[in-house]
Structure formats: structure tokens, C-alpha cells
């Protein structure tokens, strides 16, 4: 398992926090001390944590747009293409009748945007995985926030001291 910056999470220091403000404060302190590759676990979605870690955009929007364009194109090809492939005039309308075809283009646009979006979520979060990260604790799905600071050797003691200075309610050294 790797942190959001790609560092491995095999060894380091794990601090647990019981409030969001405490977690935000700890993130700021650790980043100020030069630890930019920390991983944060949260029981709730929190834009404040993303902001504190200087994370802004997500590439899933590109996937969603790609899905939308693909769906709309497929809608045009399916409706106009099949009408031209078997040219039979029905209801007195032109072979390529845009107003009714727009409904299919719209439906396929929405359909593929949703499907591409979910695939993007799986790709960018590298899911599904069978084994959970060694730093993960079940309390992170209840009411605790966790910050994992990757460290090894001499750096571990310094990282542990730094985490203990924050409002962590529990500190563990891993690896």
C-alpha cells in the first residue's frame, strides 16, 4: 500500500485523533515539519482535509467528460447509422430525424458518464483490493481520524516525537 504521494506504508508512525480540528492541526504541523507524504484516514468526507493537504482537482472529471462524449457519439451512430443502413421512411419523418434522436443521444450520454465515472473511481483509488493496509484501524470507520507518517531508521523516533506533540489520542510505531 502507498500513500497518496506514492510512498509505501510499510513502516512509520500512526497517530489517531478524535476530532476533525485536531486532525487538521496535526496535518498542518507535520507538513510544516517537512512530512508531505503523510496518509490521512477519515470516517467522513472532508474537504477541509483535502485543503490542508493541498489536494484540489481530481482526474475523474476527465473520465466523466470522456464518457459523456463517447455516449453522445454512440447515440448519433446508433440512431442515424441504423436509419441509414436500413432506409425505411416511417411516420412521414426524414430518415435522420434529429428531435427524436436527441432523446437517445441524451440517455446514452448520461449512461456512459455514470459508468465511466465509477470506473474512474476504481482506477484512481486502485480498488478493489483484498488486503487492507497495515496502518488501517477499524476505528477509522467509526469516529477516529488517522495520520500515518512514513518513516524508517533514525527518522522514526523524530516522527514519533512530532506526532506525540500533536493532539493524538493514540500513537503507534509500525514496522
Amino acid at each position: 500500500m502507498r500513500t497518496h504521494t506514492g510512498m509505501t506504508m510499510s513502516s512509520g508512525v500512526l497517530g489517531q485523533y478524535d476530532t476533525l480540528p485536531g486532525t487538521l492541526d496535526a496535518i498542518a504541523r507535520l507538513r510544516d515539519a517537512g512530512h508531505r507524504d503523510i496518509e490521512v484516514f477519515s470516517p467522513i468526507p472532508s474537504p477541509e482535509i483535502e485543503e490542508a493537504m493541498d489536494i484540489h482537482s481530481s482526474p475523474v472529471r476527465v473520465w466523466a467528460l470522456t464518457g459523456a462524449i463517447t455516449g453522445c457519439t454512440l447515440g448519433v451512430l446508433l440512431t442515424a447509422g441504423t436509419s441509414l443502413a436500413y432506409p425505411l421512411v416511417t411516420q412521414g419523418k426524414p430518415l435522420v430525424s434529429l428531435p427524436p434522436f436527441v432523446v437517445f443521444m441524451f440517455e446514452l450520454t448520461v449512461l456512459l458518464t455514470g459508468i465511466f465515472g465509477l470506473v474512474a473511481l476504481l482506477v484512481h483509488t486502485k480498488r478493489p483490493v483484498i488486503n487492507l493496509d497495515p496502518a488501517y484501524r477499524t476505528s477509522f470507520s467509526v469516529d477516529r481520524w488517522g495520520i500515518f507518517v512514513p518513516a524508517n531508521g533514525e527518522g522514526t523516533a523524530a516522527a514519533e516525537a512530532l506526532v506525540r506533540e500533536t493532539s493524538a489520542v493514540d500513537v503507534e510505531v509500525q514496522g
Binding site: T79, F106, G117
Partner: protein, 451 residues
């Protein structure tokens, strides 16, 4: 199941939310199986009647000349309408940042999926020879014959199937963090099942970051979708030249009716669910009052649409259109018409009073009236128009047969069967969203204390 006696804290913490919302999943009770058994019996009735119809032929249904669309299509439109509440509450209210949706969106989304599953059965049942359903699908055949993409019936296939798929994806995406909560509380094979559905979710900042974006995009695309689906269903009627159907107001009229009936059924279901699962701290009177206001608003739109239909018929000066609407109100189907008006326009006016909006027994009874009225609305639109078209020689009456009525009753059992299974295996409230709400409430409370 938990009961109303279960102790629920007045100001729940994040851990309380995990415990209270997942409690019903871990507590089997005899009465649950009893209710499930009743639903299963209704299912047996529905499938028994359907198989009988398949064996004996579509003639055992009451539909015949001139009314070829009867209870089956009425019930199809009814269930598609019910399906609208979920996406409305989940997607549209999410985009408007309406905080009160958090405790009801999961149940409403589940309702959407089960209602679309129910609605989807009816075109198949109505086909008679159900094995030919694939004629509506665009598949490359040897003769290169494709569906007619100018037909609103084919639009319907695409709209309803897209709606089912997107609603299911939206529902599942919202469930991923809750599956992780269930996984962390489970043991043995349940751990493996919930673990598989959670996809290994751990709540890292990276996961939440992508999750929040994709949930927002899904809400964004589901919003126009929900408006399009019932518009497309309304075009099944409005694009024909049948008097009483050929009207430009049908799309907004149907969408408002769908939201009206959908929110009403959410209230009907949430009231007993809240009591049975002891969720009073999470689903408050305020939630019900907000939903009741939505019911009142859409009731006014629906009532206005009824009036507009009559005015348009009068203003068109078309004798056929005028006769169609005169007959709708005063003809052979006057009783269903006035039941519709009473249930959908008169009864909801009680919601102007706060006492009614905050009384759960009153809301429960009122929303049942609304759903009866909305089924009748579809019946009145479909049957009265077909029974009394242009030529007096082509007029005729329709009476549903026992096969149609059995399938109608069974469809409710089919819906509740899936809903009951859902309520016992998944959290009926989105735990992650409720916790997000609680965390912010606590942060504000502490902020106020500090000041």
C-alpha cells in the same frame, strides 16, 4: 429489528450513528419474517397469474378493443412515477445542498431501484408473448431490422433502462463507505461479503477526494435524467393523437405527478421504518415536515395541471377534445375521476396546517390517499381517453379481469419484498453522510462554546 423502545441518544455521536443505524441489520425478529412471508405470498399470486396469462393467452386480461392499454400500463406509469422520489431527494436536493436529505436519501434511492424493477415488469406482462421482448432492443440481426428510433416506445426502453442503471450506480457509490463500516463490524462470511462490496475502502484522503467528485457528477447527471424519464413516459401518450393525450403540458404534468407520488410513498414507508428501527434521533419531525411541504407543492402543480387540461380542451374549441374531457368527469368513469381529484387535490390541502405536517399518523394516512389517487390518475388518463375516442361506433368500456388485479396487488408485494430484504441487510440511512452532518454540528457547537 429494533423497536421504538430502543434507547437512542438525543445528540448522537459518530460512534452512536454507526451503532444505531446498523443495529437493525444484526437483530432478526419473528415479525420481520412474518411480513416477508406475506410479501412472498403476494409474489406467488402475481407470478401465478402471470404464468396463467402466458399459458392461456393475453385474452384472459380485460384489455380489448378499444381499450388496449389498461391496468398493466397504468401500473407501469404509477411505478415509474414512484421511482422519481429517490433521485429527486438524492440528486437534486444534494445539488441544492439541502442538509435534511441525508437521513432519507438511502431509503428513497432504494425505493427508486425497486420501483423501476417493478415498473419494468409491466411492459413485459403487457406484451403477452413475453419472449419477444428483445424486439425492442437494438441488436444487429441478419435482416438488419432495427427498432424505430422515432417511436416514443423505444425512447421509453432507453430512458427506463438508463434510469435503472444510473440509479443503481448512484446508490452503490453512496453505499461503498457504509459497506466498509459493516465490514469492520462483521465477522466470518459476512465480513467477506461486506468486504467484497466495500472494495477495500479505508477512508483515505485520496479515496474521499475522488469519491466526492464522482458523487457530485453522478448527482449532476441524474438530475436531468430524472426529469427526462417521466417526460419520455408522458410522450408515450402525448405524441399520439388520442383526445385527452395529445397535449404539450404532459411532460411537466407527469414529472410533477411523479415527484408527488414518489415523495408521498417515501413518507408512507419512512414512518413505520423509523418506528420499527428506533431511528427517531436521525429521522426527525423536521424531515417529515419538509417532505410534506414538497407533497403540498407538487399537489398544487398537479391540481393546476388538471384544471389546465380542461381549460385547453375548452379553449381549443375542438368538439372531440371537449367531449373527451366532459366524459372524463361525468361519464362512465366519473367515480375514478372524482376519487383522483379528492385524493390528489382536496386531501393534500390539509398540509397547509403545521399540525398536520408534524403529525405522523395524519401524514401516514394522507400519503396513502395520495398514492391511491395517483394510481387512479394514470387509470383515468389512459382508460377514459381510449374508451371514448373519435367515432361513437368505436367507443367501449373496460373492466380489469382478476388476472390483472392479481398482478397489480402482487406488484406491491414484489416491491415490498425487495424493500424488506434491503432493510435487513443494508443501512437504511447513509451512515457516512449522517456522520459528516454530525461532525459539522459538533464542530459548530464547540466553536460556539469557544466564543
Amino acid at each position: 429489528m429494533a423497536t421504538a423502545e430502543a434507547k437512542v441518544p438525543a445528540h448522537p455521536t459518530l460512534a452512536d450513528a454507526n451503532r444505531d443505524i446498523t443495529r437493525p441489520i444484526a437483530m432478526p425478529e419473528k415479525r420481520f419474517y412474518l411480513v416477508l412471508g406475506v410479501a412472498a405470498a403476494g409474489l406467488a399470486l402475481m407470478f401465478g397469474a402471470w404464468f396463467y396469462q402466458i399459458g392461456a393467452g393475453i385474452g384472459v386480461a380485460g384489455i380489448t378493443h378499444p381499450v388496449f392499454w389498461g391496468v398493466y400500463i397504468t401500473t407501469f406509469v404509477f411505478w415509474v412515477g414512484i421511482a422519481h422520489s429517490g433521485t429527486l431527494i438524492s440528486a437534486i436536493l444534494y445539488l441544492f445542498r439541502s442538509g435534511w436529505r441525508t437521513t432519507i436519501n438511502r431509503t428513497a434511492e432504494a425505493m427508486t431501484i425497486f420501483a423501476v424493477m417493478t415498473a419494468g415488469l409491466f411492459p413485459l406482462i403487457h406484451l403477452g408473448r413475453v419472449w419477444y421482448f428483445y424486439y425492442l432492443m437494438p441488436y444487429p440481426s441478419q435482416r438488419q431490422i432495427w427498432p424505430d428510433f422515432r417511436s416514443p416506445l423505444v425512447m421509453d426502453v432507453f430512458a427506463v433502462s438508463t434510469y435503472l442503471t444510473i440509479s443503481a450506480l448512484f446508490w452503490y457509490t453512496g453505499l461503498i463507505p457504509d459497506f466498509a463500516i459493516l465490514r469492520d463490524r462483521a465477522k466470518g462470511w459476512m465480513y467477506k461479503i461486506y468486504g467484497a462490496f466495500s472494495l477495500g475502502w479505508q477512508g483515505t484522503v485520496s479515496e474521499w477526494r475522488h469519491y466526492r467528485r464522482i458523487y457530485l457528477y453522478m448527482a449532476g447527471i441524474a438530475t436531468p435524467l430524472v426529469l427526462s424519464v417521466h417526460s419520455v413516459v408522458s410522450w408515450d401518450f402525448a405524441l399520439s393523437i388520442v383526445p385527452g393525450w395529445h397535449s404539450t403540458i404532459f411532460a411537466p404534468y407527469f414529472v410533477a405527478g411523479a415527484i408527488f407520488s414518489g415523495v408521498a410513498l417515501v413518507i408512507t414507508i419512512m414512518i413505520p421504518l423509523r418506528w420499527a428501527f428506533g431511528l427517531e434521533a436521525y429521522i426527525t419531525e423536521n424531515h417529515f415536515e419538509n417532505m410534506a411541504k414538497l407533497v403540498l407543492l407538487t399537489s398544487l402543480i398537479v391540481g393546476f395541471s388538471y384544471g389546465t387540461e380542461f381549460f385547453l380542451a375548452y379553449y381549443s374549441a375542438d368538439p372531440i377534445e371537449i367531449e373527451s374531457f366532459r366524459w372524463r368527469a361525468l361519464g362512465a368513469y366519473a367515480l375514478p375521476f372524482w376519487v383522483m381529484v379528492f385524493c390528489n387535490v382536496v386531501v393534500p390541502q390539509a398540509l397547509w396546517f403545521k399540525k398536520v405536517r408534524t403529525s405522523l399518523p395524519a401524514l401516514f394516512a394522507l400519503t396513502i390517499f395520495v398514492n391511491i389517487g395517483m394510481w387512479y390518475e394514470r387509470f383515468v388518463i389512459i382508460v377514459t381517453s381510449l374508451a371514448h375516442e373519435y367515432e361513437p361506433g368505436g367507443w367501449g368500456l373496460y373492466t380489469p379481469s382478476w388476472v390483472e388485479m392479481s398482478i397489480l396487488v402482487g406488484s406491491f408485494c414484489w416491491f415490498f419484498f425487495w424493500f424488506l430484504l434491503f432493510s435487513r441487510s443494508l443501512p437504511v440511512i447513509s451512515i457516512a453522510e449522517v456522520k459528516e452532518h454530525l461532525a459539522h454540528e459538533h464542530a459548530h457547537a464547540h466553536g460556539d462554546d469557544d466564543e
